[in-house]
């Protein structure tokens, strides 16, 4: 299958400061990619360049095999969904959703019917005549999504659209958005600094740091086999040790007084429980160790302040450069 979008060596500078340093990636039709990276790493700039809101200094953006590098944003079939819903406050939900169709000169009857279909998909039918100030944060983002999707863009860019919502709403909306994107078969590129969000939404996950895509792959591969310490630190918690990296899902915390030393365990690091929390309906403990803190499960009942040992049976060793590690244990 041909690539829908292909970015080759994109660079962008602001007042001499490099923001994008040769970013390259491609996406196929219907693929959902997520770029995860810390704040200020260039994620939003990349999306703005793809949308045409910023020019690039060098490189090429190809959409459906044609270069759109110099194409104006309104002429690209790419829609950007922002962090804030940015609904036009003087227009109703229906008017907001038909806005782009009207600009594309779709006949009134047709655009209303398409918008009503989309309103139904985002479960906002009772609010079609409401104005943005009458909607909740989640409903506003749904309208914003519908406004973008109704245009059936070749590529939908999502710039941390859930970041202003509370955790539970964010989680439920994430699932809904993923489902709608799949139903509509819209290719999407989502950026976030939230690791869980990135993993949940992605078919392809890319890790970005300091203007570069440092790793790309399936969410499983990227999380399990981070290609560098940089990538490991961004994508997930784990123990970056001298002899290699231990991903979070291989680590457990044990009470040293209750357990006998197991020879199978290659890693044994002292730590202290700082807090108890619940993750994915299981009790987890935040443990501080000499390299930082980490969230881990335990079969023992632990208390905050208690000394523990972090154990793991697998270490992913570094390669010869001492920076990269191989993808197999």
């Amino acid at each position: 299958m041909n690539d829908l979008i292909q970015c080759n060596q994109l660079t962008k500078n602001y007042s001499g400061e490099p923001i994008l340093k040769g970013v390259s990636f491609s996406l196929k039709k219907g693929e959902h990619a997520t770029i995860v990276g810390p704040s200020g790493c260039g994620k939003s700039t990349l999306l703005r360049c793809l949308a045409g809101l910023e020019s690039i200094d060098s490189g090429d953006i190809m959409l459906n095999g044609k270069s759109v590098t110099k194409t104006k944003p309104e002429k690209r079939s790419i829609v950007l969904m922002f962090q804030d819903s940015l609904l036009f406050p003087h227009l109703s939900v229906l008017e907001n959703i038909t806005y782009g169709l009207k600009r594309k000169k779709v006949p009134k009857k047709e655009r209303i019917s398409e918008a009503l279909d989309m309103i139904q998909k985002v479960k906002l039918s009772p609010w079609k005549d409401a104005y943005p100030h009458e909607l909740s944060g989640g409903q506003k983002q749904r309208v914003s999504l519908a406004r973008a999707l109704v245009l059936k863009p070749d590529l939908l860019l999502l710039d941390e659209p859930f970041s202003s919502l509370d955790a539970s709403l964010r989680e439920s909306l994430r699932g809904e958005v993923k489902e709608i994107l799949r139903e509509e078969n819209i290719t999407s590129l989502f950026i976030t600094h939230d690791r869980d969000e990135a993993i949940e939404l992605a078919d392809m996950l890319a890790v970005m740091n300091e203007g570069r895509l440092i790793q790309q792959g399936t969410p499983y591969d990227v999380v399990t086999y981070p290609s560098s310490t940089e990538s490991a630190r961004i994508i997930g918690e784990g123990l970056p040790l001298e002899k290699g990296f231990v991903p979070q899902h291989h680590i457990t915390a044990i009470d040293p007084h209750n357990r006998v030393q197991n020879d199978q365990e290659l890693v044994s690091i002292p730590g202290k429980v700082t807090a108890l929390t619940v993750k994915n309906n299981s009790v987890c403990y935040r443990v501080s160790w000499e390299g930082g803190t980490i969230l881990v499960p335990s079969e023992d009942k632990l208390e905050p302040g208690q000394d523990v040992v972090l154990k793991a049976a697998h270490v992913y060793p570094y390669d010869r450069n001492g920076r990269e590690w191989s993808n197999t244990p």
Binding site: A51, G52, L53, K72, P73, E74, I78, V79, L80, F82, D84, S85, L86, L87, F88, P89, H90, Y99, G100, R103, K104, Y131, P132, H133, R147, A148, L151
Partner: protein
Amino acid sequence: MIGETRFLKNKHKAWFYLTPAVIIVLFLVGYGMWSAVIQSMQTIGGKWTFEFYEELFRSDSFLRSLKFTFWITLISTILSLVIGLVLTRILYRLFQHSFVKGLVWIPILIPHFVAGYLVFLFLSQSGLLSSLLFQIGLINDRSMFPILVQDTRGVGIILTYVWKEVPFVILMLLPVYYEIDHRYSEVVRTLGGSKWDEFKTVEWPWLLPILLEVAIILIAFVSTAFEVPYLLGVTRPEMLPVHAFDWFYSGDWSNRPLAFAAMIIPGGVSLLLAGISFKLIQKHRLRLIKGRVR
């Protein structure tokens, strides 16, 4: 709930701060207007009547004056709004520099009668511009310079008002431009909108209420101000305030109710326009304020 309480508190506070101004307006301006209404509706014997209004609309000189006032007001207001809007749209980033802002503010500081006099000095047939054109040989005689002041079309009056009111329009529109969230323009563009769509969707909804308010202020002012048309106008046709002034000081006291009635009309129209526009834009304004992203 907390927000609502704070809003109520702020509302009371606002009324508290506004009270001195409201009292002055009510007692001085309000009393003046009320007494003008009374005097335009009462005979010397104190009998209530509309006869002065009826007489006004039978008077050719009044109707001529009314038409001329309507023309001057309409053209001055539209030109001031359009020029002010275009200048603000193009230059609002430049206006952030205090020096540029200062240059624009200068006409605001000049009183209207001084502005009228300056226009007279510059644009009359014996004025500076005609002298300059004559000196450089573009005209052979000063009488070839077009009559721009004290003319029957009110060009001098319009020019004075436009020169004075454009900075006022800019002053009112600048905060709107500084407040507009320009990310909305990016939304418009990614949804396929043009530059014109950006203006129509992002700027115009915020500008509309202010432009309406400014228009009403300008209409009320231009249609009732005396000094500029008195300086730069002609005897026929003369603007309503000058006509009313003549009636008031004509020596014939029976004309005084006519003078009041003549001025009540533009005042009443301005009030009516203010009421209608307030009703029309209030809902729109609330939607904008409550629905914007903060």
